[in-house]
């Protein structure tokens, strides 16, 4: 699979919406409606949208946050000859990881300080904590960028950045398919329906081993029901824009034999469409508890060490930066504004027919 730099992968939706000419050219080229008004895509890239092009002195003036190994070494130095017990060291750390609310974080946490990142304006406001898009659009809501922007693994080519996509490709449980229906005009259509599914098939590759359009994805109607959503949207200048939906489960498993997902509130898509591919952003308020569960079950301590991710520290940072969906009882925000870079290739979506003959005897 060809990897591109994050800045070129990230959909220049803002540029599009503000009149970048190139995309109109692309849009014009694909203005014809797909056959039967339907077109499907399967996801081939997926990662948290973290702007990594700025000067690190600006984004992370205090440096990166430490991961499990760094924090362990700081808590349990060995240069003084002291011997530690597993109970007070390893098991204490693992206990705090599984139960991050039972203690306070002994480490400082460095939020990303940059003013620019990818994302969408989720609340239709320009607030004091909002970011600016690389194209200069104000009001970008992406506090996940602040939370993870100074964790090495989430930045461009970092461990989490890489594994979020590679594990998705390798783990069939992650196969994420969208199908647009009611498309009368591939360039501008004020009413289309997007249905999401879990796909059941491998990805189509050409003779060079490169992922390519034109494959087939059967959709999982037996076990994939939790991930089937029907969302209304429109196409504006070749960009699919969907209405926000709550309680959206985006399949998000890693390669550790775990089925998992991220839970979004106010979830929406903004994806640049082409006949053979699509790319853009998913955005919404990601549920903190589900994020934490996903991280703790998919990427346990060893794997978090790859990317210098300290789950207990990050969990607290996410709560501190939470900016949406307050708990009705406590009033505490339960979700964090976020954006996910995604890209797709076109596939033919096969739903099971209503009558499938599976056995017959003469």
């Amino acid at each position: 699979m060809t990897r591109k730099r994050a800045d070129t992968l990230t959909p220049p939706l803002q540029r599009l919406l503000f009149g970048t000419v190139a995309l109109f050219v692309t849009g014009m080229a694909v203005a014809e409606a797909p056959r039967d008004g339907r077109i499907g895509y399967v996801m081939v890239e997926r990662r948290w949208a973290v702007y990594s092009e700025d000067d690190l002195d600006t984004a992370c003036p205090d440096g990166f946050n430490g991961g499990p190994r760094d924090q362990f070494s700081e808590l349990f130095p060995t240069d003084n000859g002291q011997q530690y017990t597993e109970l007070e060291s390893r098991l204490m750390r693992e206990g705090r990881q599984a139960h991050p609310t039972t203690s306070k974080d002994p480490f400082p946490y460095y939020d990303a300080q940059g003013l620019i990142s990818y994302g969408l304006n989720l609340d239709n406001r320009i607030g004091p904590n909002d970011l600016q898009s690389p194209a200069g659009i104000e009001g970008i809501d992406n506090q996940v960028y602040r939370a993870v922007g100074c964790i090495d693994g989430y930045r461009y080519k970092g461990a989490v950045w890489q594994f979020d996509t590679s594990d998705m490709l390798e783990n069939l449980a992650n196969r994420f398919v969208i199908e647009l229906a009611g498309v009368d005009d591939f360039h501008n259509d004020d009413e289309v329906t997007v249905t999401t599914y879990r796909g059941l098939d491998g990805l189509h590759k050409d003779a060079t081993g490169t992922l390519s359009a034109g494959g087939v994805q059967r959709v999982d109607m037996r076990w994939g029901q939790p991930f089937i959503y029907q969302i209304q949207g429109k196409i504006v200048d070749g960009v699919l824009i969907t209405e926000p939906v709550d309680e959206f489960k985006l399949i998000w498993s890693m390669a550790q034999n775990i089925g998992s997902y991220q839970l979004f509130q106010g979830f929406r898509m903004q994806i640049e469409l082409n006949p053979k591919s699509a790319k853009g952003l998913f955005a919404g308020y990601v549920d903190i508890d589900q994020w934490d569960l996903n991280l703790n079950t998919n990427w346990t301590t060893h794997f978090q060490s790859y990317g210098h991710v300290s789950q207990p520290s990050l969990y607290r940072a996410m709560h501190r930066l939470a900016d949406g969906y307050p708990d009705p009882v406590t009033g505490e925000n339960t979700a964090v504004s976020s954006a996910v870079e995604v890209s797709f290739i076109q596939v033919h979506v096969m739903r099971p027919p209503e009558d499938v003959k599976v056995a017959r005897t003469d």
Binding site: Q83, T85, L91, E94, T102, D246, H302, K357
Partner: protein, 479 residues
């Protein structure tokens, strides 16, 4: 925010046409069965009552004092004269080193009582003092070597290897042999498993076993529900209720979906394996008289998908005995089916292998509970009991299955309760280890506790009791 989510529920209709029989909605049938639980599990997963089918094995000469016992879950295993299962400990690589026995070399399992961690697992360093030092035991305390008598002589794959202390230890296929103190009665295989296990799960012991008596065209995969038969490429084989003994009624369109497993012209029919001529010049395999097929639409190896078609079944050399009656089977929200309690809550097993060169288990109530308490309660037993509660057995309950038992647990420590301890919890246990539910599961079919702990629950943590896992193969992996 506008709330526009519409969950689409499109039933999957699979229609079976059997000589004009009514259309069958398999999805609805599966849903009904999942709800009732017992009916589903009895039909699909468990050994039917009154059918004590056992896996046949190739007999080989055994040194005096050894025997083969067909265990209820793992099939045939070697055992000593007392019926204690024999185990090997093949060397395997860990993240930062290796542990286990090299074939043909003296055992690495010694009488040394290890005090510190080995640092085999990332990210923690070696040299950490182990929990409960005053109660620690040695490797051979847990894994007694199978000592050869003075006049014992090698026989076939059975050899004798001199231990570091000069004692003579039996070996099979070059691997030193042990028994396990976890095994309580003949047929117990609590010390290890034939299931798959990744390196992060620790260097597990494996039961020593004779070769299964299956034709070369087949294999046997160890699953949580028994010994599943697959073809030589690893794909599941199936039988059909519409067939007659050693006679196939699957012709015509049936063959669009099912492929008879072809048999060679000349075979030796043993162990219930037979062949019959399905058409002139074409032979087909059968087991116990049931013609065998593969499902043309199986997406992957070791599938259960063909058995979703009414009348068709996966084929086992032997299925696992059913769990206690109160347990149910639920569709899991990530694709597959899990064992669940009477309320439908997913059942979890706790896994633990310590980070030492002895790789001793720490997942049963006879060992330190420090590891488990860390994961389920940050060291607090009360919190642990709330997060991953035991599955309490009804008063007077007992299990018909030898795999299941009722165990008395000290709620304050998590260890086995003492005799007559009045506040003991009486909990269900599988293979000598308590089973749990997870407080974070909001209802039936959810598996939020799956993978909590170190290395996604394989090393020190919790894994769901999978009966069928569509995407992750969990039913073929330890636990």
């Amino acid at each position: 925010m506008r709330r526009l989510l519409n969950l689409v529920r499109i039933p999957l209709l699979i229609v079976v046409i059997t000589g004009g029989q009514p259309v069958i909605d398999i999805d609805a049938a599966a849903a009904d069965a999942a709800t009732t639980g017992v009916a589903r599990k009895a039909l699909q997963y468990w050994q039917p009552p009154g059918r004590p089918e056992q896996e046949a094995y190739i007999e080989e000469p055994l040194p005096p004092g050894f025997q083969v016992i067909v265990s209820p879950l793992e099939g045939p295993v070697f055992a000593d004269s007392s019926g204690r299962t024999l185990y090997t400990w093949p060397l395997r690589v860990q993240r930062n080193g290796q542990a286990g026995d090299r074939p043909g070399r003296p055992s690495s399992c010694t009488d040394e009582v290890l005090q510190v961690s080995a640092g085999l697992m990332s990210p923690y360093p070696a040299g950490l003092l182990l929990p409960d030092l005053d109660r620690r035991v040695s490797c051979i305390d847990v894994w007694p070597p199978v000592i050869a008598l003075e006049d014992a002589e090698p026989l076939g794959k059975w050899s004798i290897i001199e231990r570091m202390d000069s004692a003579r230890q039996w070996a099979y296929d070059g691997q030193p042999l042990y028994t396990s103190i976890l095994d309580q009665q003949a047929g117990d295989v609590r010390g290890g498993t034939k299931m798959l296990s990744g390196g992060d799960a620790g260097v597990l012991r494996k039961p020593a076993a004779p070769t299964s008596l299956i034709p070369p065209a087949f294999g046997v995969a160890q699953s949580s529900t028994g010994r599943l038969i697959v073809n030589k490429n690893g794909y599941s084989v199936y039988s059909w209720d519409g067939d007659e003994p050693n006679q196939s009624n699957c012709h015509g369109d049936c063959l669009t979906y099912w492929t008879p497993v072809p048999a060679p012209e000349n075979v030796t029919e043993k162990g219930g394996w037979t062949t019959f001529e399905r058409s002139p010049g074409t032979k087909q395999w059968a087991l116990r008289g049931k013609p065998l097929y593969t499902f043309n639409y199986d997406p992957d190896e070791r599938s259960f998908m063909g058995a979703d078609v009414p009348g068709w079944h996966n084929v086992y050399t032997q299925r696992a005995p059913a769990p206690p009656e109160e347990f149910t089977v639920q569709d899991g929200d990530f694709g597959g089916q899990v064992l669940a309690d009477s309320r439908g809550r997913t059942i979890y097993l706790y896994n633990c292998i310590e980070d030492t060169f002895a790789q001793l288990a720490c997942n049963n109530p006879g060992t330190t509970q420090a590891y488990r308490l860390a994961i389920c309660g940050d060291g607090d037993a009360e919190r642990c009991g709330e997060t991953f509660p035991y599955v309490i057995a009804p008063t007077g309950a007992s299990a018909a299955s030898p795999l299941w038992s009722v165990m008395a647990i000290d709620p304050d420590t998590g260890r086995s309760a003492g005799p007559g301890q009045t506040d003991a919890l009486h909990v269900w246990a599988y293979r000598g280890e308590p089973v749990y539910t997870y407080a974070g599961d909001p209802g039936p079919g959810t598996l939020n506790g799956q993978g909590l702990g170190e290395f996604a629950g394989t090393r020190n943590g919790f894994r769901a009791f999978f009966l069928r896992d569509i995407f992750q193969d969990s039913e073929f992996r330890r636990p």
